[in-house]
Amino acid sequence: MSVLVNKNSKIIVQGFTGSEGSFHAEQMIDYGTNIVGGVTPGKGGTKHLGKPVFNTVSDAVEKVGADTTIIFVPPAFAADAIMEAADAGIKVIITITEGIPVKDMIKASNYIKRKDCRLIGPNCPGVITPDEAKVGIMPGFVFKKGTVGIVSKSGTLTYEAADQVVKEGFGITTAIGIGGDPIIGTTTKDAVEMLVGDPDTECVVMIGEIGGQLEAEAAKWYKESGSKKPVIGFIAGETAPAGRTMGHAGAIVGGSEDTAQAKKKILKDSGIHVVDSPAEIGKKVAEVLSK
């Protein structure tokens, strides 16, 4: 099994005919992802990369049964694209777009709470279930199939972690990039909970960073769940100064509670295996799974 996306997902690409959308749609199709079409307002009825283009998300739901979307729409229009997908009945909305105004995301995240859907991102690398579906911008070959779930705020650090896990002889069930913005649809806790509940996932790697309380919230949930499934945690940004935004809009130390040190302590106290060096993530997974 896996979570969020698999070989049966019917996936559309919003912002399909744009340069980012086209490039990554092609990569996803090459990977074997079940892309059933795309949406670009005004280009409905045409074909792109051999797939139908629709004017609206509801057309795509009606005509090809889309249940999952990946959004590459530019920042100014991305929140609208998220709400359109939610309104059309899409169940999994994966938003890659970086730089969406916070005000727009406040609106979108509150709007979709009233709908039956899950938002991943924005400003994230997407979700991959190896050999089944790559719904994101990650390099597919890094992720071999296996039993380790990954949750991460970052793109390249997710690839790094997956690569280390694979080099140790293990593989990935599903890797979820939740995104580095202050407002995201799926939190660390949500993603860890999904993976802990997935019977095929034997261990979860949780990669966090400075800023916010998401990792602490996930750790609290894990401790209270009483789960015996091991979780390995890494928090990036131990050397980041307070009050400065480190690339990701959400990566900023605001107080003593959202430093890397404070988060690591909370993780440890909750029974999570914390690695201090980002070079040791794979090693730790091997150590824990070989016990």
Binding site: P101, M105, I106, K153, E160, D163, A236, M246
Partner: protein, 397 residues
């Protein structure tokens, strides 16, 4: 993007928030003119001269002074303009004052004692909604209020679907213990303040103090405004408010080149693709016995031009003793990145005097390492993350 007090007040005022009036000046002569004009407009006798820099605690550093006549305005303006203002929030070198704000005196005597409150508007990341945070303990450092008397800090969360509602504004005014004219003024103030925050796409408003004057008016005496950079595209009029003199010059240059860069104090520079990996690389440098000199995300493309720009930025920092390049090539192939690094290195010739360690992982990593090793440039290569750390350790020794 951070704004000066006077710019923040301009935005507040444009949304109908009552402010302490002021005029910005760049010379003592302009300051005197401003003071005269303010007296005409507001009837104020005294004036407050306030240094305009991006840092809190300006009063503590001597950047806020009261002038009781025009001669004092000129004197104090002369004193504050050009000074290097040191506050608890600046470095020990301080910040040079290029502009001052001449304001009306709003602490005039009257029927009641003036009172100071604290108010801010910001995002509550836990709920994904904006909130108004306020306290009757204004005019002082809010962190110390939070530490010592947390019960004196109140919050009011705003539903994005409705915006601020009248009962919420009333609740805030009641919590300040207000009545009569001051109560009404406060509800107007709070409502206008939230609308200004929302309308201007800000990510932080901090008004400390909000003043109740002796004749029961409610005014913003100071303003700290941070605009959401991602929303600046729809506020063309605010874009010119950026004051690059307040920023690190290397960071300004980086932003213009489209690179995400933060200057730090350490001795090992780094260049990485992706913010998360960049932070992890900084941490790794520390594990290897160094200290990161910067955060630098070169982004997804990492071509020769960007790599060269990034090298130049890092090398401006004289403390840098080594550079670690860490690229995880995914969609972008490592051999392409390697070609970029070689080209950049050759273009820069003898400008590079410190050892460089390049770690490339991902698509065609082995081929990339081979390319660099054969290029005859003074660059050490690594494929594994750990290997890169060991090599950093080696060159620092």
């Amino acid at each position: 993007m951070n704004l000066h007090e006077y710019q923040g007040k301009e935005i507040l005022s444009s949304y109908g928030v009552a402010i302490q009036k002021g005029i910005v000046a760049k010379t003592p002569k302009e300051a005197v003119e401003a003071a005269k004009k303010l007296t005409e407009e507001t009837g104020t006798g005294w004036h407050v001269i306030k240094a305009q820099v991006h840092a809190g605690g300006r009063g503590k550093g001597g950047g806020v002074k009261l002038a009781k006549n025009l001669k004092e305005v000129e004197q104090l303006a002369d004193e504050i303009l050009g000074m290097h203002l040191v506050t608890p929030q600046t470095s020990k070198e301080g910040k040079e004052v290029h502009q001052i704000l001449i304001t009306e005196d709003v602490y005039y005597p009257g029927d009641n004692e003036p009172e100071e409150y604290y108010m801010s508007v910001l995002l509550n990341r836990a709920t994904g909604k904006n909130m108004i945070m306020y306290s009757p303990e204004g005019g002082v450092d809010i962190e110390s209020v939070a530490d010592k008397t947390p019960e004196k800090i109140f919050t009011e969360e705003i539903d994005p679907a409705t915006g601020i509602l009248p009962f919420q504004a009333r609740k805030i005014a009641f919590n300040f213990g207000l009545e009569g004219k001051a109560f009404k003024e406060m509800t107007k103030f709070v409502t206008a303040l939230y609308n200004a925050y929302d309308g201007s796409d800000s990510s932080l408003f901090e008004i400390n103090p909000v003043l109740k004057t002796s004749d029961d008016k409610i005014l913003a005496v100071d303003s700290k405004v941070t605009l959401d950079d991602s929303a600046l595209f729809r506020h063309k009029d605010y874009q010119s408010m950026r004051d690059t003199r307040e920023e690190d010059p290397t960071e300004v240059e980086a932003r213009e080149a489209g690179l995400s860069y933060v200057n730090l104090d350490g001795n090992v520079g780094c260049m990485v693709n992706g913010a998360g990996l960049a932070m992890a690389t900084m941490d790794l440098i520390k594990f290897a016995g160094g200290e990161p000199a910067n955060f630098l995300d070169v982004g997804g493309t990492a071509d020769a031009k960007r790599v060269e720009q990034a090298f130049k930025l890092i090398l401006k920092d004289e403390k840098v003793e080594a550079i670690l390049v860490n690229i995880f090539g995914g969609i972008v192939r490592c051999d392409r990145v390697a070609e970029g690094i070689i080209e950049a290195y050759k273009n820069m010739g003898d400008q590079i005097k410190v050892p460089i360690i390049v770690r490339l992982q991902g698509t065609n990593a082995e081929k990339a390492v081979e390319l660099i090793n054969e290029a005859g440039i003074n660059v050490k290569t690594a494929v594994q993350f750990k290997e890169a750390a060991d090599k950093v350790h080696e060159v620092l020794d």
